[in-house]
């Protein structure tokens, strides 16, 4: 999987799983302001990315991301490092009540 495949897959997840218009999904798009994604969506995005790429992602890292480009860079970085990060022991999730 090369870098453009990674980006295409991430964008496809955002479009299909989160029902966004493809035109909205650009690297500079803000996840919260432009795409209206929230903390519940962040958890689900981690699940979708992990399934798509067969990697483990620290949910806390994803929660700090601001833009689509941040996700691109993070996942590409994971692939380029050749070392998949271990899962966080306690992934930050929406508090249950």
């Amino acid at each position: 999987m090369d870098a453009s495949d990674v980006i295409r897959t991430i964008d496809r997840i955002l479009v299909e799983d989160f029902e966004l218009d493809a035109e909205q999904v650009v690297p500079e798009a803000s996840l919260r302001e432009d795409l209206d994604l929230d903390s519940l969506d962040a958890v689900d995005l981690v699940v979708a990315l992990e399934k798509a790429f067969g990697i483990r992602i620290d949910a806390k890292v994803v929660e700090k991301m601001q833009t689509v480009g941040d996700i691109h860079a993070y996942v590409r970085g994971v692939f380029e490092s050749g070392e998949f990060p271990a899962a966080a022991p306690e992934p930050a999730r929406e508090a249950g009540k």
Partner: protein, 408 residues
């Protein structure tokens, strides 16, 4: 002695035979069936029943994703029916958010499909990592009430009634109570449920699911008929706006019908076996609560699901109260058993019966073999001022709602 009625100012429905009250009632009068065969249930060995009554052509995309992500199919049905009901009642956004509008809505459980997906993920992967954040919000037993409240912005009390097939009637009873007590000006009340093979399977293993008509789905279920062989599971939602009548009139809304009374009992005898005494007590309590005599009732919309034992017990209970003077019919022959939604859908049909002056007959009833009630199999035209609607559930739950015509 009557304890006071509440107005019904709006209603919404999703059913195997229609997404509006008018569409549903036309189908009931025409004697249509919403039952079809599910060939893919063959994947489950030793499951006898292959019939169900789905809501056809349901497009959930009308619900925005941010709301829809916390909804299984049952909550989606509940939300669209509640939205229709609120709109029909003319409940403005400011009123919905005033803290004076409540949700009293039930379902058997939450979304069974979501629960299946949850455990499939955990069991197949042996890990918790594939679980989405919104899974539980679809599974939880109050998912329909919570999603309706969230979607419409309801900020009054929230009550989730989860007593299987009696969920809707319990919700209507709770809604009446909230209005009578002054705890809410209006209540979105009713129930919703989704068709999943689990419910069919549960009835099947207990010998209560229809399994003899898999090749003729429209011939089952057969309430009160000698050839009845069990339940056909359906799905849908039925939601009423139950409102304080003075409040409704003050905002210029007219009642389309009234909730006159509610009665409920528990058998405390047997978890699965119906007891006519408990059923009859619930109906008598409801009549007393409504201040209505049995001879004033124009239609009994019976629970009668098409099981040999349940229909006979209900017929015995109703015969002791109404004799053969009141038409008694069940909508399950058309719609299957929509479980937690049935009381809500039946209430919508009852309002429509009062509006039109005609009572639907029981579909697939050819040879009654129960107590000698008046059991029409075809529509009966007559003025309909008062309707009693019964629902019973596993666990010895017995409920009856009394509805009245708006002008009554």
């Amino acid at each position: 002695m009557a304890r006071g009625s509440a107005a019904i100012t709006g209603m919404g429905v999703r059913s195997p035979l229609g997404g509006t009250a008018g569409e549903l009632f036309d189908a009931l009068l025409a004697g249509r069936s919403g039952v079809r065969t599910f060939d893919d249930w063959d994947r489950i060995a030793d499951l006898g029943t292959r019939v169900g009554a789905p809501v056809p052509d349901f497009d959930p995309r009308r619900i925005p994703r941010k709301h829809r992500r916390t909804m299984g199919r049952c909550a989606m049905f509940g939300v669209v029916a509640a939205e229709d009901a609120a709109r029909a009642a003319g409940l403005a956004d400011g009123l919905l958010r005033s803290g004076r509008v409540a949700a009293a809505i039930g379902s058997t459980v939450g979304s069974t499909a979501a629960e299946e997906a949850f455990w499939r993920e955990v069991i197949e992967t042996g890990s918790a990592r594939g679980i989405r954040s919104t899974h539980f919000l679809q599974v939880m037993s109050h998912t329909v009430a919570a999603n309706v409240a969230m979607y419409l912005g309801l900020s009054g009390p929230m009550i989730a009634t989860n007593a299987a097939c009696a969920s809707s009637n319990q919700a209507i009873g709770a809604g009446l109570g909230l209005v009578r007590n002054g705890d809410a000006d209006a209540v979105l009340a009713g129930g919703a449920d989704e068709l999943h093979v689990m419910a069919a399977l549960v009835f099947d293993v207990m010998g209560g699911a229809s399994a003899s008509f898999n090749d003729r789905p429209e011939a089952t279920p057969r309430p009160f008929d000698r050839d009845r062989d069990g339940i056909v599971v359906g799905e849908g939602a039925g939601i009423l706006v139950i409102e304080d009548e003075a409040h409704a009139r003050a905002r210029g809304a007219s009642p389309i019908a009234r909730v006159l009374g509610y009665g409920a009992t528990s058998d405390a005898v047997n978890m699965a076996h119906p007891a006519p005494e408990g059923m009859a007590r619930a109906v008598r309590l409801a009549l007393e609560d409504a201040g209505v005599a049995p001879e004033d009732v124009d239609w009994v919309c019976a629970h009668a699901t098409g099981t040999p034992v349940g229909d006979a017990a209900e017929a015995e209970a109703l015969y002791g109260i109404f004799g053969d003077r009141v038409p008694v019919s069940s909508l399950k022959g058309h719609l299957g058993h929509t479980l937690g939604a049935c009381g809500g859908i039946e209430a919508v049909a009852a309002v429509e019966a009062m509006r039109r002056g005609v009572v639907p007959g029981t579909r697939n009833l050819e040879h009654p073999d129960v107590a000698p009630l008046w059991l029409p199999s075809e529509p009966v035209e007559r003025p309909v001022e008062v309707v009693v609607s019964t629902n019973f559930a596993f666990g010895g739950v017995n409920t009856a709602v009394v509805l009245g015509r708006a002008e009554g």
